[in-house]
Symmetry: C2
Subunit: 323 residues, 2 copies
């Protein structure tokens, strides 16, 4: 009593994963499979949240939640498996913009979230209830209880993130990224406690600019990761750039237009001051010496994890490399 | 120019119908079929409005709207034909009460309404947009732009109207009815203009206590009907009680427990000071002398109007009797 519990090893580690949407959700799935139940906490980007039809939609959060609940639509990468779109069709008839299509089941989450937030509950509490209802056995934490909204400057002007990402299909060149509200957003008590209890921290293969970037920009999170390292909890990051291309989404073009090298090395440079281990794909093994030159250990493995077994295997490889 | 248009006759009459849900919607359908396009205005009860899942639901309004748009579910009497319930099932999984089931398509209306009201638009304006989107060629007007909420006192205490009507399936005995907000609610400019332009007014076969009652209790509506009669626009009412029973819903039990006679005569007494003509079913022809004793003309006809042809016929009979 009162003494610090012995740090876990292997599947008994308590792991905090930083994640955006689909890529982060896949690794979360692998970690949830590998770790003892309850040992995974996912701190998820909420900079891509936005209002649709008066409802608060939290796409990265919900992708992670549906994935960990086992109800995610694997083909499209977002939404609920087998969902229908009767509501969206009717919204269209009523003159609403429907470029961000919300499934009938998915919509229920946004309805419940919106009402509970209007009643004054914190996003972290609302998320916890949703996870319990859906039987998620890990913990998903919004990066902050304060709203942060990612905006993208393009040659068409500033766009809300989802306008850039969905409506404009990531076509405009990204000139600048900002996170509205970031200066007053703080890590929630739950996020800080998760880092405090962590035996390891993993930064997922999500977009380093617009998925991991907002999380790391929240006051208190970089220092919480630093404190974890100081007490011996190692930090790994997984490259979402493989063979010079993003596994999914616009990270490659975004890195390029913002002046970063579009390789695993370019990503490693963004995380070098934060991590002990950088995990890259076999396709990028030639980059090992350069990454290690940044003072970061490397682990080269299979990082394309579309099926459940591959996800679990990557989780195991990362945690074994950290041991 | 500046002169009053010649009053219409037959299908050129401009008719204002006072209506609740299903019964009123059926007569609205008949009148819309019979009258020249645009000549029907339905002033609809909003006392049964309520909040579900943070959304404003307006059941009587929407039953009339879906009926006049030709998309109402005729079997259940509410909601949209062919609607699905994926959202409602998911809401249930998320712990929401789902005794008031909202279809996926129906829900789109509540989402749009709620957001537009939050943006500060008037219910009458929001309703107008919804009607245009759905191709309604008549005009539906909420009875007021101010919220009115019907509550029912039962031996279980005061219940919100939909709690009594849907959740408790109209089982508790009705001891008292009140309309919260009625003392500050006023007829909208559009409602007053409709009465001003009317060549005839019809009170539908809706529940006289909780459907027509709130409309008549709105400041300005009784006097607008009185002004219409003074300038020669006749007023008819249709009995929703046939053979001592309500065609639908709890009107018969409600009239009884509140001390009214449960016959067409009992309903006629409630409207005697307002109407020129009272329309009753052939089953109640024996009541003609007693109703005429109230100083009200009677018309006896077929008032059970489940199919479109019967609805149109009843509309024609009423308007011919008013000519």
């Amino acid at each position: 009593l009162g003494s610090r519990p012995k740090p876990g090893v292997g599947r008994d580690r308590r792991v905090v994963l930083l994640a955006g949407g689909v890529g982060g959700a896949k690794l979360a799935d692998g970690l949830q499979q590998f770790l003892a139940p309850g040992n995974l906490t996912v701190v998820v980007n909420t900079g891509d949240d936005f209002e649709r039809h008066g409802l608060l939609v939290s796409p990265d959060h919900d992708t992670v939640m549906y994935t960990l609940a086992g109800i995610a639509n694997r083909v499209q990468g977002w939404g609920v498996e087998g969902d229908t779109f009767a509501n969206s069709e009717m919204l269209g008839k009523l003159g609403e913009e429907t470029w961000f299509r919300l499934g009938d089941r998915d919509l229920a989450v946004h309805i419940v979230r919106t009402r509970q937030l209007q009643e004054g509950r914190r996003p972290t509490e609302v998320s916890g209830d949703l996870q319990r209802s859906l039987g998620v056995r890990s913990t998903i934490l919004p990066m902050s209880d304060q709203p942060v909204r990612t905006r993208i400057r393009t040659d068409e002007g500033w766009l809300a993130f989802q306008e850039y990402f969905v409506r404009r299909r990531q076509e405009p060149v990204v000139r600048e990224v900002c996170f509205d509200g970031i200066e007053v957003a703080t890590a929630s008590p739950e996020v800080l406690a998760a880092f405090e209890a962590a035996d390891a921290v993993v930064i997922g293969p999500s977009n380093p600019i617009v998925s991991i970037g907002p999380i790391l920009a929240i006051a208190g999170i970089r220092s919480a990761i630093g404190a974890a390292r100081k007490r011996g909890a190692p930090v790994a990051a997984v490259s979402g750039i493989v063979g010079g291309r993003a596994l999914r989404g616009p990270a490659d073009r975004m890195l390029s237009s913002l002046g970063h090298e579009v390789t695993a090395l370019g990503v490693a440079r963004l995380y070098a001051d934060l991590v002990d281990l950088f995990v890259i794909d076999r396709a990028d093994s030639a980059l090992e010496p350069a990454i290690e030159g940044l003072g970061v250990a490397t682990k080269t493995t299979e990082t394309v994890i579309n099926d459940g077994a591959a996800r679990r295997r990557l989780a195991a490889v990362i945690l074994e490399a950290l041991d």
